[in-house]
């Protein structure tokens, strides 16, 4: 029996990017906020210590900072006819755990989504006709617009100190930026990062081919910076231990480096770590959350009453908590009804590796970071004419050497031996002279891709695991083949002697790492039949429950998601501060 605690105004579940932003905003409003975090406390000086932060075995191979499957995992299958089996180790994606969440070990690439993304179905219908959208493709509009999102993107970019170059200032296209981006009111807070040889060669070659290359917008700071909360951050050192690692330099923006030093001082904020929320409690009407029940690390259960519940856990866990708590109607793929679990999407991670003449090319790929590099956007989203192509969507093409830690990043030419002296020779030859160019591409919803609770497998607490039913839709496979060919043309023109093309193909496998950009399951939107939350990220069914995360994306764009998650955090906080508190209740009437 859970022991009941004194009530709070707000309980925030999960203290990563979105949880820390929401908590800070609501504390500013004077509310008593408690955050419950299932993982441990983590901070730069004590946990990302420069003396041993650069440790590939510990942080990349053994995934120390990430969620461990022993605590929680998911089951997976490609289609409803199969039996889902547990991901006994995480491969395809790496959920976060602990204070800072996945924002501790993210890459730092920080995009805004395209204006068309927020009205995707409307846009494609207008441009290509309703018949161009396959019957099973359940893409939908977000119920918001780029114009509504712009101020919130701006706030996140300034909070995180994003380093980049504007491509569109108030409608004026800026040379050297991304000409396809939506209009922004002001430039990034920091100038672009320096570029190493590989991204420089990519940009030069792309420009000669008629494309418009630009520096990747980066949450690794190009210079020291004090953010609007007054928190000082440091210049990135291009150390090459970035994605999958905590940053010892205070130069990768995260909850730790951009929010917590202020939030943790607030007397109306409380954090409880190693406390895992079991469920959201509802009153007898099922229409009002009364708080949450959680279990601490000794196994004791506590009930935390609260007037407002905000789910800010990893996106899979936000969806799972809603399913476990009986909030909303679970999605049924046979009928297409129900919004909880609907429109689970991923990211098509396509790649081309170029093998260059080792006598002439030295890329020093160990110099870099998760978001150093250059990109083009000609093959993203609807930036090119899909009329004759037979698919929709696309991706951002970028040359971004994230580091070259040698357990995991030492490709050999195709056909080389994998061990013995022949392998040694092949690997030593290509280690400094290979270069990857990726195309991180859109993932569009399909009625047979969804999330629900597994009927067989449970977590350590006896609760059902989340079950993922997912495979790459035919549309996305065709798109991947197309964009990968385009990338290969560029890599060939850069002077590669040999190239290896890796477009994503079916079936989706849980084994190799692809991307942690899993999205959807509780889409935001204007229709409660197809969305779980309204455009203010408020539950349609339980108005004193909000959720912030990539779980509210109705589908995924050809961009990394964190910039949009950060913007949505400010959007939800703004809705609570300026609308909900004035009149607690549904913010959108249907």
């Amino acid at each position: 029996m859970a022991r009941r605690l004194p009530p709070k105004d707000v309980v925030v579940v999960g203290l990563g990017w979105s949880g820390s932003i929401i908590a800070n905003e609501l504390c500013e409003e004077g509310l008593d906020v408690v955050a419950l975090e299932r993982g441990p406390w983590r901070d730069t000086a004590s946990h990302f210590n420069i003396g041993y932060a650069p440790d590939e075995l510990r942080y990349n191979s053994r995934q120390e900072l990430m969620l461990h499957p022993a605590q929680l995992t998911v089951t997976a299958r490609n289609d409803p006819s199969q039996t889902a089996l547990p991901m006994r180790q995480f491969g395809s994606f790496h959920p976060g755990n602990g204070v800072g969440g996945a924002g501790v070990h993210w890459a730092g690439i920080t995009w805004r989504f395209s204006p068309i993304d927020f009205r995707l179905r409307s846009h494609y219908t207008e441009r290509y006709g309703a018949a161009a959208i396959p019957e099973s493709m359940t893409i939908q509009d977000w119920g918001t617009s780029y114009e509504e999102m712009e101020p919130f993107y701006d706030r996140f970019e300034y909070l995180a100190g994003i380093s980049g170059k504007a491509g569109n200032l108030d409608g004026q296209i800026q040379a050297g930026g991304n000409p396809f981006e939506g209009a922004r009111r002001r430039d990034y807070p920091n100038p672009p990062m320096m570029q190493t040889f590989g991204p420089t060669l990519f940009a030069e070659t792309a420009e000669k081919m008629g494309y418009k290359p630009f520096p990747i917008p980066s949450a690794l700071l190009s210079r020291s910076y004090v953010n609007p909360l007054g928190i000082a951050m440091g210049q990135c050192t291009y150390c090459g231990f970035c994605t999958n690692y905590g940053c010892a330099n205070y130069s990768k923006a995260s909850a730790q480096t951009a929010v917590l030093p202020v939030l943790m001082r607030k007397e109306n904020f409380e954090l409880r770590t190693l406390c895992e929320v079991l469920r959201v409690n509802l009153d007898s009407t099922g229409r009002r959350a009364t708080g949450v029940t959680y279990v601490d690390s000794s196994g004791e259960e506590w009930e935390q009453p609260a007037e407002l519940v905000v789910l800010c856990a990893f996106m899979l866990d936000n969806v799972r908590l809603m399913l476990l708590s009986g909030i909303g109607k679970p999605y049924d793929h046979r009928t297409g009804e129900g919004a909880i679990g609907r429109n689970f999407c991923y990211q098509m991670a396509n790649q081309v590796i170029g093998y260059f003449d080792p006598k002439a090319y030295n890329f020093n790929n160990f110099i870099g970071g998760g978001a150093t590099g250059t990109a083009i956007d000609e093959f993203n989203n609807d930036n090119f004419d899909h009329g004759p192509l037979g698919f929709l969507g696309g991706g951002s093409t970028r040359c971004a050497p994230i580091g070259a830690e040698p357990i995991s990043k030492r490709p050999t030419r195709p056909g080389s031996p994998t061990w013995g002296s022949g392998w040694k020779k092949a690997m030593a030859e290509t280690y400094l002279s290979n270069l990857s160019v990726g195309c991180e591409a859109s993932s569009y919803a399909d009625r047979n891709n969804f999330l629900d609770l597994d009927p067989t497998y449970t977590d350590r607490l006896g609760r059902p695991l989340m079950r993922i039913t997912f495979d790459f839709p035919e549309n996305d496979v065709r798109m991947s083949a197309y964009v990968t060919k385009k990338v290969a043309e560029i890599v060939r023109a850069m002077g590669a002697q040999q190239i290896l093309e890796n477009p994503r193909t079916r079936p989706w496998s849980v084994v190799p790492y692809q991307s942690t950009h899993v999205v959807g399951g509780t889409a935001m939107g204007l229709d409660p039949k197809t969305s779980a939350v309204n455009p203010y990220l408020q539950s349609w069914d339980v108005p004193n429950l909000f959720t912030v995360g990539a779980n509210v994306f109705p589908q995924n764009s050809g961009f990394n998601p964190t910039g949009t998650v950060g913007a949505l955090s400010f959007k939800a906080a703004d809705a609570i501060r300026t609308r909900y508190l004035k009149s607690p209740g549904p913010l959108v009437q249907v």
């Binding site: 590939e56 943790m264 690390s297 020093n364 160990f366």
Partner: protein, 251 residues
């Protein structure tokens, strides 16, 4: 520790300013409460890596250690590029890994039911890495003794060993009902590479042999002065978590 004196401007739902500190002391071992005190310094919370030193085997029996050394010596043979996997310490690395959390799959999801799946559903075996090694190594030696006149794997010549390893790589060696030879080959190849390329602190990359071979500078952590030196060789030698040998050893 001092809490800032900022006054909460407005109470919204709560009529009282009482806060839930009562539970703090009783919220259980491990779980912690942080309350208005700023960023807590958490000295000793993060555990530095413990240096692996050669010495008695922690997991392997002498016979197991003998065959593992003989395998890693062929996966990474000594040549003009580097010392062998054996001399670099890869068997010591694997031994220490199998004796720890990795060997017991402590971080993995190991709850039943265990049922076979599709290749793209990942490893569904209930065998931990430690149990895989324990089962496979004697089976390989048995096979060698049966087919090579009573000699175990380590007693074979380099070409003979390579031939056995190639059969394993292609999944053609019969190691009994519980172990697929191809799966085990992947396992030991992965662990050997982890040891050879990991920081030397883990015991398998003696004197940064692998890093010197490929030109990886290790944990320098600051390349700002070389970012714009395009296509130029990085001038400095590698450095590891424990520094460099010539910093610490005088002989």
């Amino acid at each position: 520790m001092t809490s800032p004196q900022r006054t909460v401007s407005r109470r919204w739902f709560l009529a009282t300013t009482a806060v839930g500190m009562a539970m703090a002391a009783s919220s259980g071992a491990g779980a912690r409460v942080f309350f208005g005190s700023g960023m807590p310094w958490d000295g000793g919370a993060a555990v530095p890596p413990q240096p692996v030193v050669p010495g008695p085997w922690a997991f392997f029996t002498p016979a197991e250690a003998r065959i593992v050394e003989a395998i890693v010596e062929r996966l990474i043979p000594a040549d003009e590029l580097s010392i062998s996997g054996k001399d670099a310490g890869c068997a010591v690395f694997i031994d220490r890994q199998l004796a720890g959390d990795y060997g017991t799959s402590a971080r993995l999801y190991m709850r039943p039911p265990f049922q076979p799946g599709l290749p793209n559903q990942g490893d569904q075996s209930d065998l931990t890495p430690a149990r895989k090694y324990r089962a496979a190594l004697p089976a390989i030696d048995d096979y060698c003794r049966r087919t090579h006149g009573g000699r175990d794997f380590a007693a074979l010549g380099p070409e003979e060993r390579d031939a056995i390893l190639t059969e394993m790589e292609h999944g053609k060696l019969d190691l009994g009902p519980n172990i697929d030879s191809g799966m085990f080959f992947s396992q030991i190849l992965q662990n050997t590479m982890e040891g050879f390329f990991a920081d030397p602190i883990y015991g398998g990359n003696k004197d940064m042999a692998s890093w010197k071979m490929i030109g990886f500078p290790g944990v320098r952590y600051d390349y700002r002065d070389h970012v714009l030196k395009h296509n130029q060789k990085y001038p400095l030698p590698p450095v590891s978590i424990q520094g460099r040998q010539d910093w610490t050893q005088r002989s």
